[in-house]
Every structure is written in structure tokens, then in C-alpha cells.
């Protein structure tokens, strides 16, 4: 027994030694490859993109579903972007056509004609035609199929009608003019009719486990909890992608992801502002902060049982207590990662303006307003999700600044699930403030559900009949000049009413391995990182 025990021990030590030795070669294969490739990079920087190689992108979880009609989470949307090509995309106001060649509205803006590119194919070689687009939209509209996108295709209670004109032409008939319709189509990536037409419940179909798309990369392998690998689709209409494959490595813990990035096991990943310097210090990554069209804001719950926040003067006073620059500094470290926000609409939204009233850093004015509103010595409660370092820092800063104007603020850090349940509960009266953020897309009509009286997502319970009227008008106004005026007025009124305190238009930070190029052509995009992965290449 003694001899056996020692034998096993020696074996294990040997195993460790063998592993340690071989680790120098393959355990850090990416890091080793990196040094070789950096040498190549000097030549590639001046020349044409090279073909071949693979890219590893870090993601936080397994995808929920690889079907664009159901993808709502960041990881599924990111992977779907590579597998399923969209009709067209809009980024910073610039429209780029992918599967579509053109989108033409009729003079009365009630009919939109979509022309598809010719000779489009699915990953399995079948032709992609107007039938697939019509099928996709009809499945989105079918209530039994539970697509998240359905309500976007219902305008004023009536569905959009979609029909095929010929193999490459699709016609959309709207029940009424809706300038936001293009923004709705941006979210659509067709799914193949020949794969799904006999499926009773597409959401739960096992065919989603081996998706067939039309994007630059096709599905190859999925190991749950580990990774998903996609391989190059040679018949991609945008031209053969440069990389042979793209892998999404699942790393759930953010500390572990940061370490894996430093170790060269991941080539692309999101980075927290506080980790930027560490990642930069490796010398292996470029850092790209980019706007996701997200607003971080302090919400005033006008429905709270304090019964004071429904007074405009009180909300203005609380806003006057804060200094936006300090708030950004304490929570994001610098303005490199957060732009100054004044409007409730984000910078990427049509007709956005920061030229609106803003109540910032005037303690005397704040005290005056509180006195005139009869709200001195207020005691308020703020809710934040526990573990969110940015929001924790913001809440503590706000608490400190409110003290200066005689307002006591209790910070209630909650479990993140409980926090979101309370935040969206329109009947919740037991909190006064919350810190949150939203990404609403580029059309201002999306903001109607946030600020219209009684709307489903009007979590602050704001109500202003004039704003309601303007938001309704904006939704149906086809004249862009008039529409612009309407939304400028809306922004001014929301700001003057201090319905929220806009903190910052936050930026997402991506670390990108210096061994790779083509990031400008691939276009950094909110939520999904890259708009077109086919353009990334190994230097």
C-alpha cells in the first residue's frame, strides 16, 4: 500500500511537471502566437489584409437562443450578428445596406418597398429570397410564436402587412404613416423559411441549436458553458470574410475574463474603466471606448409615498444639488468613458440636442426652491442594484451632495433581481430615486413609452399633457423639419420638468488585440461589438 501511494504521488507530480512544461508551448498558445504575429504586423500594417486565422471574443454567458426573432440578450444578439445578416443597419445616422439593396417609401409614407440583393444564399446553399423576408415578418407578427419584436410591427393597434412582389422585392403596407418604421426594420434579420416553415413553435425548436443564417460566418460547434465556434462562409454576399473562424469563449466571471484577456486566451472583450490601465500595460491591446447610445440617469419616482417628487420645483432643487462633472469623475474615472448628458434623448437619436435647460450645481438655488415648495428637511430613499460599483459610487455621491441642501438620503442596495422587479413595478411607492440606464435606438419615437402618461415603461410616472401630444404628433409626422421641431420641444420640456437627472451618455470600452486589424471597417456597434465581422483580419 505504501509503495502504491508513493507511486500515485510521483505520477501526479510527474503529471504536473509534464503539464507545466508543455504549458509553455500550448497553454498560452495565443500569447505565443501573438509574439509571432506582432512581427508580421509591421508588414501587414502597410499592406493588404491577410486571410486566415481565428479570433476569440469573450462573452459573459451562454447565448439564450440563436435565432434573431427571439434574441434579446447581449450574447445572443452578438453571435446572431455574425450568423444572420440584417436587411440594413443604421449607425450614427449612416445607413448601410446588407441583404437589402434599397428601401423606398411611397410619397404618402404608407408603403415601403424593399429590394433585396440578387443571388443571396443561406449557409446551407439554398437561395435567400423575398419569401424568407415575408415568412420572417409573418412569424414575428404571429402571436403564437412569441417574438419580442412583434409589438414593433403593430402600429396604432393594427399590424403591418407584408407581401412578396417578386423574388427580390417585398412590400410593407403600414396602417398609418410611421417615420419610426425604418428603425423597426433595422432590428430584423431574416430567418430561413425552408428550415422553419413546418415548426409549430420556432422559439423552442431544436433547429435553433444548429442555426442556418446568411451572415459572414456559419455555425460550426457549440460546447455549452465553454465556447461557440463559427467558420467562414465563402459565399457571403459582402465578400469572403478574412478570418477562417470566430470563437465566442464563455467566461462568466468578469475578473476571470480580465485575466484571460491579459493571458492572451481572448482577443476581444469588454473592459471596465477601472481595468483599462492593467490591460493597456500588457502592450498587447488597443482600447476603444465607443458610444452605445446609452443614457445613465437618476430617476425621480413621482409616485412615491413621499408625495414631494411630483413637484417640479423639488426635482429641480435635487438636480441643482448635484455637480455632473464630479458625478462622472467619481463613477467613471474620467470623461473618456462618459459624455456630458443634458437631454433625455441620447446623442445618436435623430434630432438630439443638448441645448436644453439644465440644473447643475447651485446649492443656494436648490435650497430656495425647496423652501418655496415647502419641502425642507426631506427624507428620501434611493434603490440601487448591489454589486454595481458605478451605481454604488453614484448613490454615495448623491447622498453626500443632498446633505448640503438638507435632504437626507437612505441608500438601499438590493439584490439585482429584486431591484429590477421594484424598478419596473409601476405600483411601487416605497422608493423615491433610482439610478438606471437605457438604450432606445436611433428614432425618438421609441421614447414615447418612457415619457407618455400611463405608458407601460413610464417608470417615473411623469405626466405632461403637452408632452403626450407632442410625442403622438412626432410619431406620425413625416416632414423631417417639423418632426425635428417637435422633438426639440419635447427635449426642452422634459429637461425643464426635470423628469430625470441625466448623468452621462456612457461609453462601452472594448479591448482589441493588436494582432488584428480592420476594426474601422467592421464598425464598432452598440450591444453586438462589430457590425460586420467579415472585415476583421489577422495582421
Amino acid at each position: 500500500m505504501r509503495r502504491n501511494g508513493i507511486g500515485v504521488l510521483v505520477l501526479m507530480v510527474l503529471m504536473l511537471v509534464v503539464s507545466a512544461c508543455s504549458g509553455g508551448n500550448s497553454g498560452t498558445s495565443s500569447a505565443t502566437d501573438g509574439s509571432t504575429s506582432n512581427a508580421d504586423a509591421t508588414t501587414a500594417d502597410n499592406g493588404q489584409p491577410k486571410d486566415g486565422g481565428s479570433l476569440i471574443i469573450g462573452v459573459q454567458s451562454d447565448p439564450v437562443v440563436l435565432n434573431p426573432n427571439y434574441a434579446g440578450d447581449r450574447v445572443s444578439l452578438t453571435i446572431d450578428q455574425a450568423i444572420f445578416a440584417p436587411l440594413f443597419q443604421v449607425n450614427n445616422g449612416k445607413k448601410t445596406f446588407y441583404l437589402a439593396d434599397s428601401l423606398t417609401p411611397s410619397a404618402d409614407k404608407l408603403t415601403y418597398t424593399l429590394k433585396l440583393k440578387k443571388n443571396l444564399t443561406w449557409h446551407d446553399g439554398e437561395k435567400l429570397t423575398a419569401d424568407d423576408v415575408v415568412f420572417t415578418i409573418n412569424k414575428i407578427l404571429d402571436e403564437k410564436q412569441h417574438s419580442f419584436l412583434r409589438s414593433n410591427f403593430i402600429i396604432n393597434g393594427k399590424p403591418v402587412q407584408v407581401s412578396k412582389v417578386d423574388d427580390t422585392t417585398v412590400e410593407f403596407k403600414l396602417p398609418q404613416a410611421a417615420p419610426a418604421f425604418e428603425a423597426t426594420l433595422v432590428q430584423v434579420s431574416p430567418i430561413p423559411k425552408h428550415i422553419f416553415e413546418n415548426e409549430a413553435d420556432i422559439e423552442k425548436s431544436t433547429k435553433n441549436n444548429t442555426p442556418v443564417g446568411s451572415g459572414p460566418f456559419k455555425f460550426k460547434e457549440y460546447k455549452t458553458g465553454e465556447y461557440i465556434t463559427l467558420e467562414r462562409f465563402d459565399n457571403y454576399f459582402g465578400g469572403k470574410p478574412h478570418l477562417d473562424s470566430v470563437t465566442y469563449r464563455i467566461v462568466k466571471d468578469s475578473n476571470a475574463a480580465s485575466l484571460a484577456l491579459q493571458n492572451g486566451e481572448i482577443n476581444v472583450n469588454y473592459v471596465d474603466p477601472q481595468n483599462v490601465d492593467t490591460i493597456k500595460a500588457t502592450g498587447k491591446f488597443d482600447i476603444y471606448p465607443y458610444s452605445e447610445g446609452r443614457l445613465a440617469y437618476l430617476m425621480f419616482n413621482e409616485n412615491s409615498d413621499t408625495k414631494q417628487l411630483n413637484k417640479k420645483e423639488v426635482r429641480q432643487a435635487l438636480s441643482y444639488a448635484l455637480n455632473q462633472d464630479e458625478l462622472i469623475q467619481v463613477s467613471y474615472g474620467s470623461k473618456d468613458y462618459a459624455d456630458t448628458a443634458k437631454s433625455a434623448l441620447t446623442q445618436d437619436v435623430l434630432y438630439h440636442t443638448n441645448d436644453v435647460p439644465f440644473f447643475n450645481n447651485d446649492v443656494n438655488k436648490a435650497k430656495e426652491l425647496l423652501k418655496s415648495a415647502g419641502a425642507e428637511g426631506l427624507k428620501l430613499r434611493i434603490i440601487i442594484p448591489g454589486g454595481n460599483k458605478v451605481q454604488e459610487a453614484q448613490a454615495l455621491y448623491i447622498q453626500q451632495k443632498f446633505k448640503d441642501i438638507g435632504v437626507q438620503l437612505d441608500v438601499n442596495s438590493m439584490d439585482s433581481s429584486a431591484w429590477s422587479q421594484k424598478f419596473v413595478d409601476t405600483n411601487a411607492k416605497d422608493f423615491d430615486l433610482a439610478i438606471s440606464g437605457y438604450i432606445m435606438g436611433y428614432d425618438p419615437d421609441a421614447y414615447r413609452i418612457l415619457y407618455s402618461t400611463g405608458s407601460s415603461s413610464n417608470y417615473s410616472h411623469y405626466s405632461n399633457k403637452e408632452v403626450d401630444k407632442l410625442l403622438e404628433e412626432g410619431a406620425g409626422e413625416s416632414d423631417t423639419t417639423k418632426r425635428g421641431e417637435i422633438y426639440k420641444k419635447v427635449q426642452e420640456m422634459l429637461a425643464d420638468d426635470a423628469v430625470i437627472y441625466p448623468i452621462a451618455y456612457t461609453k462601452t470600452i472594448v479591448a482589441f488585440d493588436k494582432q488584428y486589424g480592420g476594426i474601422e471597417q467592421a464598425v464598432l456597434k452598440p450591444v453586438v461589438i462589430f457590425e460586420d465581422l467579415s472585415k476583421i483580419y489577422h495582421k
Partner: protein, 316 residues
């Protein structure tokens, strides 16, 4: 023996039933709503309600439990609320990774703990004993996630010896590659109960060293090493079987932390994701499997103990 096994196996059924009720009740009492993880700002209230209905979450809690129980009795643990995959398939898919990690960790912990415990006992109150004691205290106090990150930094980032995440290099299926990926998580998980083992073996050995049979061996002129390994060790090893059974709970808890830190694709990391997303069916499935593992672990320990020491049977 057969009677003992049969009786204990029969006890598993009411225990699992009881655990399932407690677990279901706790999930329902916990704050949060699984549907909220799907909500996007442009979703309408009707969509959210429709989703809640299609998932059966609009039913009273007891109805949901009865429906779940009925299905479970037929071996169907339902579907994940998040990705609609069968719960049983997901668990079975992840089980080998967790089993491998746990098995290797136990072996490693025992192999390290026995010589260290014996060494400490044989050199009681000397510097080596004090050093091992100090290390044990540190081991008990160190949080696993911190140790994990520290080791990743040292062995992956600084020395470049080992990979920091996952179970294999992408696209590779070689056993050596998996072993290499397993070294750090296996060591961290082993560490969670290694210190307890060392202290137990040390104190157990010290007790044995005072026994009459040890003194007799010394009187016959046997050396210290011979006495320790030939006579004392077998007496010390016996209670370790019980200790192994008791470690089952630590193993499950440790696996959750270790798998999350190292992105090890086992049941622990699956459970962590399920808890974050309030994925009730997956939480229930994993709880049942963990409970079964704990019960069977203890049963196995009892059986082994009664095989090793037949006197035990007569007292049961």
C-alpha cells in the same frame, strides 16, 4: 448490509420530496422575476404578460409545484426558462466535467493531507508542525475565489505555465490538454477541504500515538517511520472515510465558486447562471442532483465504513 443499503435508499425518496418542497418554496419567496431578464425597454406590458403566461408563471405557486412534481416523477425535469433546453439534458451534459473535477480534487486532497498530517503529528510542537498548522489555518480562512484569482495571476499571467479559463483549448479534445486546464481548478477545490483533512489526520494520529499498541511496537524496537506507516496509518485512515462523506457538501459549494472563477463548464457554473436568471426549473434540477449526491455520498461512506470495520454493523 443489503438491508442497510435498501433501507437507506428508500429513505432517499421522502428526503428528496422534502428538499424539493423547501427549495421550491425558497425560490418563490426570493425576490425577482425570471421574465424581467428578458424585458427590453421597447417591450409592451402585454408582451411581458404573454411571456409570463406561456412560461406558466401566472399560475399559483402550489399549482406550479404540482405540475413540476408530476413531470419530475416521470423523469422530466422540465425546460429552462432562459434557453428552453431540457433541464435533464443540460445537467447530464455538465455532469462529467463536475464529476471529474470533484474526483480529482478529492484524490489530490487526500494525497496531500495524509503525509502532511502524519508529518505534523510525528513532529508535534516542533517548527514543522507549527508551519503545517499555520498553513492549515490560512487554508481554512482563504476565500476560494481569491485563491483562484491569485493562482491564475501567478501561473497563467506571470509564469505562463497554465491556461486560466475553460476546460480545453478551443477545438482540442486531447486528455492532456484537459488535464492541464484542470490543474488550477482542481487544486483550488481540493484546497477547500485539504486544511480540514490535515488537522483531522494530525489530531487523530496524535491520539493513536498514545495508544498501547504503539508503545508495544516501540518496545519491540520498531522505528518511528515503520510504526507510523504500518500500524498507525490504518487506524487513521478509517475515519477519513466518514470525513469524505461529510466533505460532499463542501465539494458542491466549492465547485460552484471554482467553476465560476475558472469558467469550468460544470454543474456549478450552470447553477450560478440559473440563480442569477431566476431559472426555476434549472435551480430545482440542480438542487435535486446535489441533494442526491450528498445523500449517496454519505451512504457510500457508511457502507465503506462498515466494510472496513465490521463491528459497525452490529451497532446499527
Amino acid at each position: 448490509m443489503r438491508q442497510l443499503i435498501a433501507r437507506r435508499l428508500l429513505q432517499v425518496i421522502p428526503m428528496l420530496f422534502f428538499i424539493s418542497i423547501i427549495c421550491f418554496g425558497l425560490i418563490k419567496l426570493a425576490p425577482g422575476d425570471p421574465v424581467l431578464s428578458f424585458v427590453t425597454p421597447n417591450m409592451h406590458l402585454e408582451d411581458i404578460e404573454r411571456m409570463r403566461h406561456s412560461l406558466g408563471l401566472d399560475q399559483p405557486a402550489y399549482v406550479q409545484y404540482v405540475l413540476w412534481l408530476k413531470k419530475s416523477l416521470t423523469g422530466d425535469l422540465g425546460y429552462s426558462l432562459i434557453n428552453h433546453q431540457p433541464v435533464l439534458d443540460q445537467i447530464l451534459d455538465r455532469l462529467p466535467a463536475t464529476a471529474g473535477l470533484m474526483g480529482a480534487s478529492i484524490i489530490l486532497a487526500v494525497l496531500i493531507a495524509i503525509p502532511l498530517g502524519l508529518l505534523a503529528a510525528a513532529n508535534r510542537n516542533r517548527w514543522i508542525d507549527k508551519l503545517i498548522n499555520l498553513m492549515s489555518y490560512i487554508g481554512i480562512s482563504v476565500p476560494l475565489f481569491w485563491l483562484g484569482i491569485l493562482l491564475i495571476y501567478l501561473f497563467a499571467i506571470y509564469l505562463h505555465w497554465l491556461p486560466s479559463t475553460g476546460m480545453r483549448t478551443i477545438g482540442t479534445d486531447s486528455v492532456l490538454d484537459v488535464l492541464k486546464h484542470g490543474i488550477l481548478p482542481c487544486f483550488v477545490l481540493a484546497f477547500s477541504f485539504l486544511s480540514v483533512y490535515v488537522r483531522y489526520i494530525r489530531s487523530s494520529t496524535i491520539t493513536q500515538l498514545k495508544e498501547e499498541y504503539v508503545q508495544i511496537q516501540y518496545a519491540f524496537g520498531s522505528g518511528k517511520r515503520l510504526v507510523l506507516f504500518r500500524h498507525v496509518l490504518k487506524h487513521v485512515l478509517l475515519p477519513i472515510i466518514t470525513l469524505l462523506g461529510m466533505s460532499a457538501a463542501d465539494l458542491v459549494a466549492g465547485a460552484i465558486v471554482t467553476e465560476t472563477v475558472f469558467s469550468w463548464p460544470g454543474i456549478g457554473s450552470l447553477g450560478m447562471t440559473a440563480v442569477k436568471g431566476m431559472d426555476y426549473p434549472v435551480i430545482m434540477g440542480i438542487t435535486l442532483f446535489s441533494a442526491l449526491f450528498l445523500i449517496l455520498g454519505n451512504l457510500l461512506a457508511d457502507i465503506l465504513y462498515s466494510i472496513a470495520d465490521p463491528r459497525i454493523k452490529s451497532t446499527r
